[in-house]
């Protein structure tokens, strides 16, 4: 078997095996692959919560576009339809029904829930003080709150619990007709919690669809009701002409305004991101392929050449996907979206081969001639992309592996398979003279060196002295959620008056009970900080579910009925309460002494269970209890206070997420630096000459600096994805410089080389340029800089590296 046969057989075998792997591969669109994977335990908790915690299952629903009365009515009907559906754990829209259950729960367990219950609370003296206090409260305007419960709860445990709820959860949204409404009255608001975990996108999609169709039905019913009302109005018209006509007109106005359903929240983002990625990946790949194919067809005017040019690309893509599948078990939709960029780069190899094949020489000769350069170019690209393999963003690691494998396969196919497939008679392709003329023109640009120098100096100065933050300063810039959706989310959260917790005390324990006990000890440790004003207040899971130990201690602190009656009689002396009034109190305390303890299931159906779940959650290896702090003014004294509880951590969410961002920016910077250094070392080894090395690197540095300056125009902050984009610019741009470098000794061949580089660059710019059209920030932030940067690399390489003497140029056209 000849070497050529071996090449063909190996190629077919590898592509066939890869196709088998690809066919079985699961495509994953969970955006968390592009979320930072974090190191410290506190950060891990943070990201886990974000990924799979209660928060990740919350959907904020708004009904807008109609007057408040109408949106409130729709909210009630919609909630009615959704409640009881197994897809939802909770549907809250401010209606009192949920709160009645909350109050029932608090009322019936008040002596086990209240941390005021201690043995000295029920002595004659303590009760006397309490009753005097009650008396003054009764005289207050708020007396009505107390009067109904006074007889059964003279020590005010219920009021205390209610006040704690209010303090912990914020004022909450405003009401209209009994449901939540935005402050401007334009949106009725609803909070829906899905049963499915945040990572289960299929279930989330079904649940969201349920909400949408329920809304559509409710809106339809409303229209039908309007028609009935209108008909009634018409009937009245005979009697009350004017008024009825007016009302009918109003009804018509109301009907013409259609209610809109708006949803936001992590499940919505996840579903939309997946849809967007799917459509982006397909759309962008098709778009890039079409563009590149059309372009090559126009230039080469030969469908056969086009077909041949596509072979390395398709082989590279299939094997690349298979490699990712083998290494990561799944492939991310975003990685597939990068197929578009691979087309942009891998098609270059065939382009170099065809364009640089002169009509009078066989392909074999050309490939042998350009192979050293091609090989070095691919190696530098691989060096650059391999830095991405080390990234802690799994998505980037996948992209790195996909691109490296794809490029290596594409270049090997170009080297060993294409020459075999090309028929014997094939001797170069017809050159486009326009192309060559442009190429000659470009090579004459060397006079513009000083302009390049000036541009680079200006760009560097604008980077150094530019206004605005250099790096995007918060974690939101890494978010896979497009800015418009982020704004909507913020606006709805603002309407809900959700108080964003920014400080948490977090503690992890092996089981639920010890986590709750730790939370209770922490609450105790923080009480002095609250008294000293270092902290306004806190919300703790034990407010809803005290530890069994605390509940038992409270039961033990309750006196028996006879004792309590005695103490009460002492307390009531010379107070104006009606005799016998407090019998229900004696009874309630007696019952609480032997009542069953509260467990998690007692909270089912209350809105308090939501709060409990957000503060107490099960993790793979234990239970996490969180105390949500508000009004923190002295973080240092909080840190000192919680030092008494082992492993308790104070998490400043804002600072922590910014620190996290810092870690990723540093990682991005060092990986990009590493990639650039690897490329430089590789070039130095192959070129073996400092001046040559500097000439090859100069256009790249100039292109990177200028591209960064362009991206920073208008004070735009750079994201970490822009940074990786720069790495790609260096990886691809170095190929151009190497071809220029190779032509040093052969200025006559330069226009032909230049033509091939121009073609290759157009394909690259097309591939990455379509990424810039993507609505997914990751793809968008990578696409734009690479498109700009590679174009600049070529331009600068042409200007800096083309020889000053262009006398041989017309000669080249003649060839």
């Amino acid at each position: 078997m000849t070497a050529r046969r071996i090449a063909i057989v190996a190629w077919i075998a590898v592509v066939a095996a890869s196709t088998l792997i690809v066919a079985r591969l699961h495509i994953n669109t969970d955006m968390s692959a592009f979320l930072p994977r974090s190191a410290s335990p506190a950060q891990k908790i943070l990201v886990d919560q974000f990924r799979d915690g209660v928060v990740s299952r919350l959907v904020l629903v708004a009904i807008e576009g109609v007057p408040a009365d109408r949106s409130a009515a729709i909210s009630k009907q919609l909630a009615g339809r959704l409640r009881g559906n197994a897809e939802f754990v909770a549907v809250e829209n401010g209606e009192a029904s949920g709160f009645e259950r909350d109050r029932d729960f608090l009322w019936s367990h008040r002596y086990l829930l209240s941390d005021q219950v201690q043995s000295d609370r029920f002595t004659g003296a303590a009760l006397h003080t309490q009753l005097e206090h009650d008396l003054s409260d009764l005289g207050s305007a708020a007396g009505f709150l107390l009067e109904r419960t006074l007889a059964a709860d003279p020590t005010g445990e219920m009021l205390y619990l209610l006040q704690q709820q209010q303090g912990g959860g914020g004022g909450g949204p405003q009401h209209h007709d009994g449901v939540w409404i935005s402050p401007d009255g334009n949106r009725a608001l609803m909070l829906v919690r899905l049963r499915a975990a945040g990572s289960d996108i299929d279930s989330a999609q079904r649940a969201l669809q349920t909400i949408r169709s329920a809304f559509a039905q409710v809106a339809q019913d409303q229209v039908a009701q309007d028609q009935v009302a209108q008909n009634q109005a018409a009937r009245h018209q005979a009697v009350q002409n004017e008024a009825a006509r007016h009302r009918a007109a109003q009804n018509e106005v109301a009907q013409n305004q259609a209610a809109r359903l708006v949803m936001t929240g992590p499940p919505v983002f996840a579903v939309e991101a997946r849809d967007r990625i799917k459509s982006d990946a397909t759309r962008l790949s098709v778009l890039a392929s079409l563009f590149v194919a059309t372009f090559l067809l126009v230039v080469y005017r030969s469908p056969r050449v086009l077909l041949l040019a596509v072979i390395p690309v398709v082989s590279g893509a299939v094997v690349g996907v298979a490699a990712v599948g083998l290494a990561f078990r799944t492939i991310h939709g975003i990685t597939l979206g990068f197929g578009a960029t691979l087309i942009g780069e891998a098609v270059d190899y065939a382009v170099y081969l065809f364009t640089q094949t002169a009509p009078d020489s066989p392909v074999e000769v050309t490939i042998r001639r350009i192979w050293p350069t091609l090989r070095l170019g691919v190696l530098t690209s691989i060096c650059g992309f391999s830095a991405m393999l080390l990234s802690r963003f799994e998505g980037f690691a996948q992209l790195g592996l996909f691109t490296i494998t794809g490029l290596a396969v594409a270049v090997c196919v170009t080297r060993w398979v294409l020459p075999v497939l090309i028929p014997a008679g094939f001797a170069g392709v017809r050159q486009s003279h326009t192309m060559l003329r442009i190429a000659i023109g470009v090579t004459g640009l060397h006079r513009l060196r000083f302009i390049v120098a000036a541009v680079v100096v200006v760009a560097a100065a604008s980077l150094v002295f530019g206004k605005g933050a250099f790096w995007a300063g918060d974690l939101a810039s890494l978010s896979p959620v497009p800015p418009a959706e982020q704004r909507l989310d913020q606006s709805l959260r603002h309407d809900m008056q959700a108080r964003d917790a920014s400080f948490l005390v977090v503690v992890r324990r092996p089981d639920q009970e010890s986590a709750l006990e730790a939370a209770e000890r922490l609450t105790g440790l923080l009480a002095p900080v609250i008294r000293q004003g270092g902290l306004a207040g806190l919300d703790t899971p034990t407010r809803y579910l005290p530890s069994l130990a605390a509940q038992r201690a409270r039961q033990a602190a309750l006196p028996d009925p006879a004792t309590l009656q005695g103490e009460l009689d002492t307390a009531l002396r010379d107070l104006p309460f009606q005799p016998g009034l407090f019998a229900p109190f004696i009874d309630a305390v007696g019952k609480a002494r032997s009542s069953p303890l509260i467990d998690r299931s007692a909270l089912d159906g209350t809105s308090l269970s939501l709060r409990l779940d957000s503060l107490l959650s099960r993790q793979r290896d234990g239970w996490i209890a969180m105390l949500s702090l508000r009004g923190v003014t002295a973080p240092a004294s909080i840190d000192r206070a919680i030092a008494g509880e082992p492993d308790a951590v104070l998490v400043d969410l804002k600072a922590e997420s910014n620190r996290l961002l810092g870690v990723y920016l540093r990682e991005g910077a060092s990986l990009s630096g590493l990639g650039a250094a690897a490329i430089t070392v590789l070039l130095a080894i192959s070129l073996r000459s400092l001046p040559r090395l500097l000439t090859v690197i100069a256009p790249l540095v100039a292109a990177v600096v200028t591209t960064l300056a362009v991206l920073r125009l208008g004070g735009h902050a750079l994201s970490i994805f822009n940074l990786f984009g720069m790495l790609l610019v260096v990886a691809i741009g170095s190929n151009y410089c190497l071809f220029f470098d190779r032509q040093r000794g052969d200025p006559a061949g330069l226009p032909r080389v230049m033509a091939s580089l121009l073609l290759a660059n157009v394909c690259t710019v097309a591939g990455f340029g379509v990424l810039a059209l993507s609505r997914t920030p990751v793809l968008h932030d990578l696409g734009a800089p690479v498109a700009i940067g590679t174009l600049l690399s070529l331009l600068f390489a042409a200007i800096i590296m083309s020889p000053a003497n262009r006398s041989s140029a017309p000669d080249a056209v003649a060839r």
């Binding site: 005289g139 007396g143 709150l145 007889a151 006040q163 009606q578």
Partner: protein, 200 residues
């Protein structure tokens, strides 16, 4: 109490609006007339004395203070400073009832929709003050007696379930001025409030 009523009467004699309306003063007043007249008041401040007889107590509780109303739906009631100097403020703003005990604690905020039982009480006062006849008719059985010169409006919630909070409310006054608000609830609590207008 008697003294306050006398003062009210004295104040009214010098008031031109009343003398202009004297021609109608003997004719029975209609709800729409009364409401129109109450609606003309956009802002008013008044002193009050309130006696509350609570069923849980053997003796009544007396409080004094200031009322102020701004159309359409802002009402504030502030007690005179207590022995410790604290002033309790109750404010109704549309759908929200806020009670600040003036003792440094966080104010109590009640959404009337979450507590419909309080809503009926607030609505009776709010609708009367703003002269909203439709709102009153929706919620209450209304008995109006007397002339515009001296009228008495008795409101009883149509929904018997709300009698627990408010069995009846009796508002008395002359022309657009309210001089007394008496209420009773289903628990057997009664409240009598005498009001003297200060300024508007």
């Amino acid at each position: 109490m008697k003294l306050l009523r006398c003062m009210a009467l004295a104040a009214s004699l010098g008031f031109p609006a009343v003398s202009a309306a004297r021609a109608d003063s003997v004719a029975p007043v209609t709800l729409d007339q009364l409401m129109a007249s109450l609606r003309s008041v956009r802002h008013v401040e008044a002193r009050y004395v309130e006696h509350r007889h609570l069923h849980v107590l053997r003796t009544p509780i007396e409080t004094r203070g200031t009322l102020s109303f701004n159309a359409p739906d802002h009402l504030e009631k502030a007690t005179d400073p207590a022995a410790d100097g604290s002033v309790e403020r109750l404010a109704i703003d549309g759908d929200r009832l806020t009670i600040d005990r003036g003792t440094g604690g966080a104010p109590i905020v009640v959404s009337l929709h979450e507590h419909p039982e309080i809503g009926v009480l607030v609505e009776s006062i709010r609708a009367t003050l703003s002269g909203d006849a439709d709102a009153l008719r929706r919620t209450f059985d209304i008995t109006l007696s007397g002339s515009l010169a001296h009228w008495q409006l008795v409101l009883q919630p149509r929904d018997a379930a709300q009698h627990q909070t408010l069995q009846w409310m009796r508002v008395s006054g002359y022309a657009e001025r309210i001089t007394a608000i008496d209420t009773a609830n289903g628990d057997g609590d009664r409240s009598e409030m005498a009001i003297v207008e200060q300024s508007r």
